[in-house]
């Protein structure tokens, strides 16, 4: 994703404005969108949590203290670690959220990224080449789509161990079809557009057409879906824990924390609430940032950021 920011994807029928330093330009565009700036800040914070959290707060996250069971939030008497309250074993919820961010974010990122890459590749083949291979790939997508993710989860987690890596495998496989089908659908449409036809007539090779003309249009859509999928994957992981076939303690993820806290919704809402908030904020930040990225990398749209989003150009002309 950062690669895309530094080298803006070009739509073929628009000239690139001169960019002196791409990093600086990106920063300038980011500063122009306050919401995206906040989102980027939050994601940076989460990334720091994921990297350093377990080392810093691993001990308090696992320290049981039954006298603190379900201690309510906003009570500073017990120290700042308990500002979000304590869970059913009296452990600091804040510490657990910070520590769990590592598992949660790596599961989601790894699942989405691998599903996106594999799905996009297969989708390009199916859409561009078509033929029997394309048909085979599409039927494969149908099979995956109809194969219940629950059964897949039970199979993988029963045969292997219910560890993070295996969960990524399950989630990635189940998410492939959406990228595959989206890519193919877009390719089918783009393939017929004038400029692609023109490039083909002019003798451009297929890989060149795909990389230069098709990918730049497909990728933004995939990224939009991918950032939304990030939430989906976190929630799917949570649902698996809810159903008893996902990650289990002593591992922690936000999804597992929500699933474990659901039994206490009527007495201690904070058990399920804060990790839920973490999921929601992360997802929203990602989406805000991806919306910004989409705008910033699209030469047709970038003016919105450069000019504060106040001048809907195409309307003023009408």
């Amino acid at each position: 994703m950062t690669g895309a920011t530094t080298r803006p994807l070009a739509a073929p029928d628009a000239a690139l404005p001169p960019v002196v330093n791409p990093w600086l330009a990106a920063l300038r565009l980011l500063l122009a969108d306050k919401l995206a700036l906040v989102a980027a800040g939050f994601l940076l914070l989460m990334a720091l949590c994921a990297i350093f959290g377990p080392a810093l707060l691993g001990q308090p996250a696992n320290a049981m203290n039954l006298r603190m069971r379900n201690a309510p939030p906003f009570d500073l008497e017990n120290g700042w670690l308990f500002i979000l309250g304590a869970d059913a074993l009296g452990r600091s919820i804040l510490a657990r959220i910070v520590v769990a961010s590592q598992n949660t974010l790596s599961v989601a990122a790894a699942s989405v990224a691998s599903a996106m890459v594999v799905g996009c590749l297969l989708g390009l083949i199916a859409g561009y080449l078509g033929g029997w291979l394309g048909g085979l790939i599409m039927r494969l997508a149908d099979v995956i789509m109809s194969f219940p993710s629950l059964l897949l989860a039970v199979i993988v987690l029963y045969m292997l161990e219910p560890r993070v890596a295996n969960l990524v495998l399950v989630l990635a496989i189940t998410r492939i079809p959406i990228y595959l089908r989206t890519t193919r659908a877009e390719v089918l449409e783009i393939r017929e557009r004038m400029f692609v036809q023109a490039a083909r007539v002019m003798g451009a090779s297929s890989p060149r057409i795909i990389v230069r003309h098709i990918l730049p249009i497909v990728v933004p859509t995939l990224i939009t879906i991918g950032t939304l999928d990030f939430a989906f994957v976190m929630l799917a992981e949570s649902a698996l824990s809810f159903l008893g076939i996902g990650i289990q303690p002593p591992e922690i993820t936000w999804g597992l924390m929500v699933a474990q806290g659901r039994g206490y919704l009527s007495q201690a809402w904070w058990l399920a609430f804060w990790p839920g908030v973490a999921i929601i904020l992360t997802t929203m930040s990602l989406n805000l940032l991806s919306a910004w990225l989409r705008t910033a990398t699209d030469p047709m749209q970038r003016w919105r950021l450069e000019q504060g989003g106040r001048r809907p150009e195409w309307r003023s002309g009408g």
Binding site: I155, L188, T224
Partner: protein, 305 residues
Amino acid sequence: MGNFIGKRSLSSAIALAGLVILVFFLARLTGDPTNLYLPLDASLEARADFRERHGFADPLIEQFGRFVVDVLHLDFGESIRKARPALEVVLEAFPWTLRLAALTMAIVLVLAILIGSIAAYRPGGVFDRLSSIISLAGASAPDFWVAIVGILVLSVSLGWLPTSGVGTPWHWVLPVGVLIIRPFGLILQVVRGAMITALSSAYVKTARAKGVRQRAIIFVHALRNAMLPVITVAGDQAAGILNGAVVVETIFGFPGIGKLMIDSILQRDFAVIQAAILVTAIAIFLMNLLIDIAYAMLDPRIRHG
């Protein structure tokens, strides 16, 4: 078109067969149901006897042979748990889920297209930001959390809706309400993104130059092209409900296929797993076929490959 559907049906049938075979072997990798079905105290002889009786003692390939012969006679076996034909159990549950999925997706599509188009009309505007943030927050909330809070607030505290179960139309409000949230958030974003692209593309500008009124521009020209990714994502979400409204069905005691599936998987009731997957797969294959036909209708340039 007829040729396309014929070819497609054939390849789909082959894929279905592949799926069934895959499920047969993969499901059996998760152990047999003997220990689950018999009381814990059952003796080793009783266990051996049970395996013998249900054929779990035979080599896998032999079990598979029997299964194939049975399926060719349209017999999908008997549910060990329920002591009745697996297909009967599945066909009892499937219509519930189908209705749930259809109702949910119909509402989602109408809402998402309407709100997404309005949002795309002025990207970055107040309406756009607000609708995005609210729908995204909803879509990222865990559904079991929303469902239980919904019951506690709407049913217990306010007494407006029944907590769970089926029976009256009111019983559908909470399950559908919870199911809508996620696909709505997702599809809204896709509609919005696709509409922004479509609105700034050359042909809409051409249409505008020709003097077609603006509202018509949005809803006919732009929407028509924006529909491709929307339909794809909607299909994915509908498939998700068809074979996976498990959480909602579990919480609301909704007698659909998701609940049946998770129970059968956890109990290793293979015949039911197989029949359920076959039925949902046929539904999903049919839906994907319809989607491909819709692609062609939306964009006549797309050839069927």
